[in-house]
Structures are given as structure tokens and as C-alpha cells.
């Protein structure tokens, strides 16, 4: 230090202290050197051993997902152990030999094994690559016996989903699938690893955080062959929480069975709480195939089936509600003072608006009809006129009051909202005017009007309970693995409808007649023990149609039926849509009848063995002239395209 500086001016003491700091720093860093010496030279051989031959590994232990149970505690989705074959690349001596051996002795596909190997290669060399999931007991035995000859293989036990009822309620429960790259990047999946399974649809998807649980892990020491030596530490996985659904498994089964091989959806709702008792989308699919091996043939079968088994029809199917929508038109007419119980209209079999002729399903015409008869016999002309007097916006307002036109919030993904058209909507969407004919179509639930089965169930339920709209819900309780109730879900009122009780009563009386009086279109839903009220609907898929019988499946009309029971103290509401089932009275009403029968049998209201000589298909025979009424299409609208001749 040749220059004059502050330290000198201060005296030698500061300089000494600086020296002291330098020495202290050097000494402390020298401490690091001695430690490095100790680790890298004295202990090196041992630590190298640890790193080379005696390896420490972290083995994740997958947590079991929580079970899904029905309202009575019956298992809908459980877990079962599944064994899978993995390899640890760093322990494999000869990759080709190993793959050849595995494909020969276990009859696994060589190409598939190679593909899986390539896919997993990018990761750390100690990280197991999954080669075959869900191996059989024989394969497992073979692997255990020949482990020493197959260095690098690893057998993993994982809990997988088990579906004791097969495809039952598959759309509702949902399926699992391997987590995708996209999902891995999202914050809610930050605890997940590649290869983990997550819920992809239904309850499994929407309740993933509750169901998933927390994976545990074990730090183990293994030898050069990858054999387990000892466990160093372990964190136990926590099982996911269980869900108790509002679904009744027995009712669900009967509801699905009553569809037979027909496509469609059914929603059964508790009128006084909004609990969903059954949630059917038929045909179903096997959710187990999605989490395991889906044979390509099966996949194609699902895709090619014209009944679209993979589609959740109860949640996402949007159908013209057809004559079931007359409930809305009727209430709107009553509320607005357009009609009362005694107002009559004349039905001559068709009704002319502008240049178009709108037909009634009854070509001969119903004659003079009042509200009750119009509902009972589903007279289209009556409602054309009510609708026309109301105008579309007043019908739409009433429909929205029922909660139609937007999703109800059942808590499943991509719930559809249906469609309630208005003047403004059409102008905005299509840029052309709303025609009187559009109103006429809408008044019987055709044209632009669309609703989902859940909405229809909610609609009939709100009518039944006198105007309360509950939020439909599927999960009653969330339970910890030890049985402690973590969350309890109670009925939630979305809205109280501002309609007069008398008007509800008038419409309900009409619906009682539909099922129980002669000429009613819904006799097939009748029960002798309990008074059922309901409304049929047949909704057009295409406008122009040829004679019955030679219509291709996909152009046939949808059959609908909405109902509630018992009439005097409503408990349960049902909405059934049979896709391309043609007539509400003959295709949908019998299904509703069977569902309600099962419901009341479960309640003990109807005794099981008592069947009398009753079969739902023919039940209406003695009182309701089925051949004349319910076998025929209701609400068929055939607006002529051109000017009227």
C-alpha cells in the first residue's frame, strides 16, 4: 500500500483489524477445505459406494382415491390393488435382451414395450419407466420367480379404481385418465407427477381435490441389482376423502335398466331439496377401460355407436322440450291473465299464422278445449293461440323464472344451459326478425327452445313444490378416511318463483289428468298406489318427415316425459328423454312409471311382490285409450315452407 490512505491516518490499529478480518475469513474458508478433504478424500470411497452401488431411492407410494358411495352407503366406486411392471433404466444391463425376454415370457407386445421405454427415457435414470400396467396374476408370479435373471425390473403395486356396478352411472361418476402435459403445468396439479391419474369427467373430475389424497413416499436403500435393502424413512400416503352422493343406487339401476337399449337420459330429483336421486345417460360406458387398457376395437365401438355412449346426455344433451314446455306456456298465460281455467279455444286440427299452417297432432281436431283438457290431451292449437297472445318475450320471461335457459349449477363440467329465445336474441344472432310463427313454435317447446334433462327435472320439480327452485346437487357429504364428516351439503334455494299458488294448482290438475284420466296422453306412467302427475312431449328432430316407419333412426322424434308424485304431497320429480323414441306417451312415460314404482317400493309405499296384472306398457289399456292417444305423436309442427295453397 504505497499511497497515503485513511487506514494509515487512523493508525495501525485499523490496519491490524483489517488483517484480522482477512485471517479470519481465510481460516473459516479453510474450515470448508478440511471438510471437503474429509468428504472427498477420507470418506470418498464409502460415499462413492453409496452413490454407485448402494443407492438411495425415493419410491412414491400412491394414495388410494376416496371412495364414492350412494346415499345409503353402497359403494359406487372403490379401489382394488393392481400390479404393474416397470424398469429402472440405470439397473438394466442389456435393454434389448430384457425386452425380448419380457415379450416372450409374458407375451407382451414388443413394439409397445419399446415405445414405452423410449417415451420414459428423458427422465432421470433411476426413475422407473412403466412398461405394463395391470399385469395378471400369472405374469406377476413369473416375474417374482425370475427377478434375479431380469435385472432392472421393478414391480409396483398401485390401487386402481374398481366399479362394482360396471357401467352404471358412468357419466355421473366419470372416468380417470393419465394426467396430461397441460394439466401438469397448472398450479392445481403442482403436487402431481407424470403418470399419475386424475379425474377426467363427472364426479371424479369435479371433486378431484377431495378424492385424490396425498401420495406418500419411502426413502429406501437398494443394492446394485435394485433389490430393496432397507427403508430409511417413510411418509404414509393419505387416502382421499370419500363422497356420499345423493344418488340412490337401486333407483339408478332400475332407471338405467328401464331404458333397455334405447338412448336417452333420466334425471330423478327430490322435489323438496334438489337432491339428484338418479342421473342416467344411456347407453353407458365402462369407466374401467379408460383408466386401464382400452382395446382399440372397443374404442371404435363407442365412437361408431349412433347412440353416442360417451356423451353425457343428462348434462349436455339439449333437446327441444316439446309439449313438456306447455307447462311454461300455460303458467305464463295464467299469470298474464290471457287465460283462466275456463277460457276455451277451438281446435280444428290446425292453426294458421300468416302464411303458415301449424298442425295439431290430432288431425281431426280437439274441438272446444279448456286448459285442463288442453294439457290432458296435449292440444297444440290451444297453446299456439295462448303463445301468440303472450308473445315470445313473456313466454321467455316465464321460462327464465323456471330457471330454464341457463345452467342450474349442478357442479359438473360443461353443464349446458339450453336455450330460451327472445326477440332481441334472434335479431342479434341471425340478424333477421322474429316471426309470429316462431312464437307459435316456441309455445309448444319447438323451434329455438332447448332444455337439458336436468333443467326439465328442475322445472317439473319447481312446479310440484309450488315454485321453489333448488340448486340441484349430487354430493351429500364429504367424509374423511376415518369416517369423520368434513362437509355436509344442505339444500340450497336458488329462487322462489313469484307465481300465484292457484295457477300452479291449475296446471298441476291438468298434469294429473294427463296420467290418470281417459284421453290423457301419459297413462303409461300411472301407478295404482300413488297419484302421479306428468306431461308428455314429443320433439321434432327434423321438420319435414315422411310417414312413420321408414324414417332413419337419427331423424326420429325425441320422446319426453316429465312427472312428479305423489300428487298431493310431492316428493319426487322425474324427467326422461328417449332419444329418437318417437312418442312421449309410449316411449318415455313407461320409463317414468318404472322409475316411480321403484322409488315408492324403496320407500315402502308400494309393496314389492304386489304386481297385480299390471305391466306399465299396457297399463293404460283399461282406462286410457292408448291406441288413440299416447301412441301418436304429440305436438308435431309442420309449418309449410312456402305460401299456403
Amino acid at each position: 500500500m504505497k499511497d497515503q490512505n485513511y487506514v494509515k491516518a487512523e493508525g495501525e490499529s485499523a490496519n491490524r483489524r483489517l488483517m484480522g478480518l482477512s485471517v479470519a475469513a481465510a481460516l473459516l474458508l479453510f474450515l470448508l477445505v478440511t471438510r471437503l478433504w474429509y468428504l472427498q478424500i477420507i470418506e470418498s470411497a464409502d460415499l462413492m459406494d453409496l452413490s454407485e452401488s448402494n443407492r438411495l431411492r425415493f419410491v412414491p407410494i400412491a394414495a388410494s382415491r376416496g371412495a364414492i358411495l350412494d346415499r345409503n352407503g353402497k359403494i359406487l366406486v372403490g379401489n382394488t390393488p393392481s400390479f404393474s411392471l416397470a424398469v429402472i433404466p440405470q439397473d438394466v444391463k442389456d435393454k434389448d435382451l430384457l425386452i425380448a425376454k419380457l415379450s416372450n415370457d409374458l407375451s407382451l407386445d414388443r413394439q409397445e414395450l419399446l415405445a414405452k421405454w423410449e417415451k420414459g427415457k428423458g427422465r432421470a435414470k433411476y426413475y422407473p419407466i412403466m412398461l405394463a400396467a395391470g399385469i395378471s396374476r400369472d405374469q406377476l408370479e413369473f416375474l417374482e420367480e425370475n427377478r434375479l435373471q431380469l435385472p432392472g425390473i421393478d414391480i409396483e403395486m398401485k390401487p386402481v379404481r374398481e366399479y362394482p356396478n360396471g357401467p352404471m352411472a358412468a357419466h355421473l361418476l366419470g372416468h380417470l385418465g393419465e394426467i396430461s402435459e397441460n394439466e401438469l403445468d397448472r398450479p392445481e396439479f403442482k403436487e402431481y407427477n407424470p403418470g399419475d391419474y386424475t379425474g377426467k369427467s363427472g364426479i371424479e373430475r369435479n371433486w378431484e381435490p377431495e378424492l385424490h389424497g396425498n401420495d406418500g413416499g419411502r426413502q429406501i436403500e437398494v443394492d446394485a441389482r435394485g433389490r430393496f435393502l432397507r427403508s430409511i424413512s417413510e411418509t404414509v400416503p393419505t387416502v382421499g376423502n370419500s363422497l356420499i352422493l345423493t344418488i340412490d343406487a337401486d333407483l339408478q339401476r332400475v332407471a338405467e335398466e328401464s331404458f333397455g337399449d334405447k338412448a336417452g337420459a333420466a334425471v330423478v330429483m327430490d322435489v323438496n331439496s334438489g337432491e339428484i336421486l338418479s342421473f342416467v345417460s344411456n347407453p353407458g360406458f365402462d369407466p374401467a377401460l379408460f383408466a386401464g387398457k382400452m382395446p382399440p376395437s372397443k374404442w371404435n365401438e363407442y365412437l361408431e355407436d349412433i347412440r353416442h355412449p360417451l356423451e353425457n346426455k343428462a348434462l349436455k344433451g339439449q333437446y327441444p322440450p316439446g309439449s313438456t314446455f306447455k307447462i311454461v306456456t300455460a303458467l305464463a298465460g295464467l299469470e298474464q291473465g290471457i287465460i283462466d281455467a275456463n277460457t276455451t279455444f277451438d281446435c280444428k286440427g290446425s292453426y294458421v299464422v300468416g302464411n303458415s299452417r301449424f298442425k295439431c297432432w290430432e288431425k281431426k281436431g280437439h274441438g272446444t278445449v279448456n286448459l285442463k283438457r288442453a294439457l290432458r290431451e296435449s292440444c297444440d292449437v290451444y297453446f299456439y293461440q295462448v303463445g301468440e297472445k303472450l308473445g315470445i318475450n313473456r313466454i321467455a320471461a316465464c321460462a327464465r323464472e323456471f330457471g330454464l335457459g341457463k345452467p342450474l349449477g349442478i357442479g359438473l363440467e360443461n353443464e349446458k344451459g339450453g336455450m330460451i329465445p327472445t326477440l332481441e336474441w334472434k335479431e342479434k344472432k341471425y340478424g333477421n326478425k322474429w316471426y309470429r310463427g316462431d312464437t307459435v313454435s316456441a309455445s309448444i317447446g319447438q323451434g329455438y327452445v332447448l332444455a337439458t334433462p336436468i333443467q326439465l327435472a328442475s322445472m317439473i320439480s319447481s312446479l310440484a313444490n309450488g315454485g321453489t327452485i333448488y340448486r340441484p346437487y349430487l354430493v351429500k357429504r364429504v367424509m374423511a378416511p376415518d369416517g369423520k364428516v368434513l362437509k355436509e351439503f344442505l339444500p340450497q334455494i336458488k329462487k322462489k318463483m313469484a307465481f300465484r299458488n292457484d295457477n300452479f294448482r291449475l296446471v298441476k290438475e291438468g298434469l294429473l289428468a294427463v296420467v290418470n284420466e281417459p284421453h290423457g296422453t301419459g297413462g303409461a306412467a300411472r301407478l295404482y298406489e300413488v297419484k302421479v302427475a306428468g306431461k308428455t312431449g314429443t320433439s321434432q328432430v327434423v321438420k319435414i318427415r315422411s310417414k312413420r316407419g321408414d324414417i332413419p333412426y337419427k331423424y326420429r322424434d325425441h320422446a319426453l316425459f316429465v312427472a312428479f308424485a305423489p300428487y298431493d304431497r310431492p316428493e319426487v320429480a322425474v324427467a326422461v328423454v328417449v332419444e329418437h323414441g318417437e312418442h312421449g306417451g309410449s316411449a318415455a312415460a313407461p320409463i317414468v312409471g318404472r322409475i316411480l314404482r321403484q322409488y315408492f317400493e324403496g320407500k315402502g309405499v308400494i309393496k314389492k311382490p304386489v304386481r297385480r296384472d299390471y305391466t306399465p306398457e299396457e297399463g293404460e289399456g283399461n282406462q286410457a285409450p292408448a291406441t288413440e292417444e299416447s301412441d301418436k305423436p304429440q305436438g308435431v309442427v309442420i309449418p309449410d315452407a312456402g305460401p299456403r295453397p
Partner: protein, 366 residues
């Protein structure tokens, strides 16, 4: 205007020393993150960005006389204190600690600049006082308050690592100013009841738990203890010559979740062995001695104290990080300057270096 002498006196030794360490660091980050499944810009590229922008920034800062710090130190100190309080009030919590403050368009972590500002504040405080007999208890009362505020706030976040670093830095500076033996002994005696009281009255249950884990990693074998075991194996298995660049098996198996940040040195030690580790350690030692040398050659008391403070900051980071990596100290999130991946650490370290460069090239200017 810029004096021509500034260029002739530019401290190339310091500049090259830091650059050499940073380049080794970038290569090491490349190796450490080689096994990662990466999305976006690789870590080593980002590290190059940060280093070059840090270097550029520090060269610009060099052209401003560091004495300006003497004037504004207290103001910045005050501002940062307010930010630290804001962090506790409205800061963003991540991984159990609240350290970040979001100011709409960007986020700050006030405890990082606080390290440097504390150094400036203390340099100014001690530079105004002539203490031929060394610091006594009375002279320490005011600095104690100056230090206490930020330390308590940082501990509350809780960021015990940074709090301890700040204390160590200030202690180093006080030592340089000179301390009486009696003062040392009484501070030590006072610390015992203070720690006792703090433990029982100030810390919450989970904080105590955290400190106990911090002192004894075996309490949490799957957490920090696991890292220490794996890091020791990585370092030790490197042996004398190391396994070679990109050939570290232990570290590439991703036993260390933070191997490119806080545990970067363990990857290096595995691949380059005792020889390589010694070399890096030597570079750091040179850096520290050079920093103290700058302090010794400086013409004014403020600059000299500033240089000691900055050097102490670098030193304690180095010691604590390396000590943690080789299992001498418990795991605490302290990065290795210029070596660990991370923008915050790089910027703080580079600002420190720019202050050293600044002092160094103005040593003839009086």
C-alpha cells in the same frame, strides 16, 4: 463528467475474478439442469442474461461516485423499512413465508436490497465518529436500534437466514471499526437472556418448530435431512478428481430438488472433485481478500467501511452456502454468490461488486 483516471484505475482484477466465477457457475448450472424436463428458456441461458445485465448495470453504476450513498443511505433505509412493513401487511405468501411485495407491474423482495442499504447506513454511521478506543456499549445503542427494526421485520416474514446474514454483516463491520473487549463480553452476556425471552415470548409455535428443525435436521428426515445426506454423498463421491463435466450421477438423479440454486456447489463438487472445489474456493478467497484490500487502500473512512461491509456480505453468503452443501451447517436458503441460479441473488451480488469497483477506482481521487 467522467474523469479519465477512472478508466486507468478500473479494477480489472476484481472484474475478471467475478466473471471467472460466474462463467464456471453457468457451466455448472448447465450440467445441474441437464436432466430437467424443461419448458421455456434453459436455466443457464437465463443465468447468462442476468449476469451480463448485472455486469452492464454495475458498469453504469460505477460512473456515479459512491459518496452519493452517504447522503441517501438513510432515505433508502427508511423507504425499505416501510416496504418491509408493507410486506408483512399485504405481501404475497409463498411456501409459508411472506417475502414478496407486489406493486402492480413488478414484485420486490425488500429484504434483498436491505442487506446493502444496511451496509451503507452503518458505513455512514461509523464514518462520522472517531472511536480511538473502539466501540463501547453506549456507541452501540443507536446502531442496535437501526439494526433491530429490519431484523425483527425480516424474522417475522419469516426469513431467519437473511436476518442472521444481516446481523453477521453488521458484526463484521463493527469488528472493523474496533470493539472493546468489555463490550464484546457484555453483548454476549446480554444475548443469552434476549434469546431466552425471544424464544418464549416472541416466536410462535410453528416458528420454534421450524428453528428446531433448522438446528437439527434429523427431526425432519424426509425434508432438509434428506438434502444433507444426498448432498454429502454427491460431494464425497466426487473424490479427488471428480466424475467429470456432465457425468455426476448422484446429482443428475435429482436427489436434490434445488440442485441448480442453493445446492449448485454440490453438483460442481461431484463433477470436479476436491481439485475443482479447491479451485473455486481459492477464487472466492481471492475475491474476499481483494475486497478487504480495497477497503485498506481506500482514502476515506466511509468508503473503507462500505468495502468491508460488502465483502462481509459476500463472505457470509459463501461460507453459509458451502457449509450447508457439505453438511457443516443446517439447510437454510442462502445462495452462493455468482454461482447459484437466480436473478435476485445475482443482482444483489453484482450491486455489491459494483460498489467495490466504484470504491476501488476512486482510491486516488483526493
Amino acid at each position: 463528467m467522467i474523469d479519465r483516471r477512472l478508466f486507468t484505475n478500473f479494477d480489472w482484477t476484481l472484474c475478471w475474478l467475478v466473471a471467472l466465477i460466474a462463467v464456471i457457475g453457468v457451466f455448472n448450472i448447465y450440467s445441474a439442469s441437464a436432466s430437467y424436463k424443461m419448458i421455456g428458456t434453459p436455466f443457464f441461458i437465463k443465468q447468462i442474461y442476468w449476469f451480463t445485465s448485472g455486469l452492464f448495470l454495475s458498469l453504469i453504476v460505477c460512473s456515479i461516485d459512491y459518496h452519493i450513498l452517504e447522503d441517501i443511505a438513510y432515505w433508502i433505509y427508511g423507504a425499505l423499512l416501510v416496504l418491509l412493513i408493507l410486506v408483512l401487511a399485504v405481501g404475497k405468501t409463498s411456501m409459508g413465508a411472506t417475502r414478496w411485495l407486489h406493486l402492480g407491474f413488478f414484485s420486490v423482495q425488500p429484504s434483498e436490497p436491505m442487506k446493502i442499504v444496511i451496509i451503507a447506513v452503518f458505513a455512514r454511521f461509523f464514518s462520522n465518529r472517531s472511536l480511538p478506543q473502539g466501540v463501547g456499549l453506549r456507541e452501540l445503542a443507536y446502531p442496535f436500534l437501526l439494526l433491530g427494526g429490519p431484523v425483527l421485520l425480516i424474522m417475522k416474514q419469516p426469513d431467519l437466514g437473511t436476518a442472521i446474514l444481516v446481523i453477521l454483516i453488521v458484526c463484521s463491520m463493527v469488528f472493523y471499526v474496533g470493539v472493546r473487549w468489555t463490550t464484546l463480553v457484555s453483548v454476549f452476556l446480554a444475548a443469552i437472556p434476549a434469546v431466552y425471552l425471544g424464544w418464549h415470548n416472541f416466536l410462535r409455535e410453528y416458528q420454534k418448530e421450524r428453528i428446531l428443525n433448522f438446528l437439527n435436521p434429523d427431526r425432519d428426515p424426509l425434508g432438509s435431512g434428506y438434502h444433507i445426506i444426498q448432498s454429502k454423498i454427491a460431494v464425497g463421491s466426487g473424490g479427488i478428481m471428480g466424475k467429470g463435466f456432465l457425468n455426476g450421477t448422484q446429482s443428475h438423479l435429482r436427489f436434490l430438488p434445488e440442485q441448480h440454486t442453493d445446492f449448485a456447489f454440490s453438483v460442481f463438487a461431484e463433477e470436479w472433485g476436491f481439485i475443482g472445489s479447491l479451485f473455486v474456493l481459492l477464487l472466492y478467497l481471492l475475491l474476499i481478500l481483494w475486497g478487504l484490500n480495497i477497503a485498506g487502500r481506500c482514502n476515506d473512512r466511509f468508503g473503507s467501511l462500505l468495502a468491508v461491509g460488502v465483502t462481509a456480505m459476500l463472505f457470509w453468503h459463501i461460507l453459509i452456502n458451502m457449509g450447508m452443501v457439505i453438511g457443516l451447517f443446517p439447510v437454510v436458503g442462502v445462495p452462493l454468490p455468482f454461482f447459484s441460479y437466480g436473478g435476485t441473488s445475482m443482482i444483489t451480488s453484482m450491486v455489491g461488486v459494483s460498489i467495490l469497483l466504484n470504491i476501488s477506482m476512486r482510491r486516488f481521487m483526493f
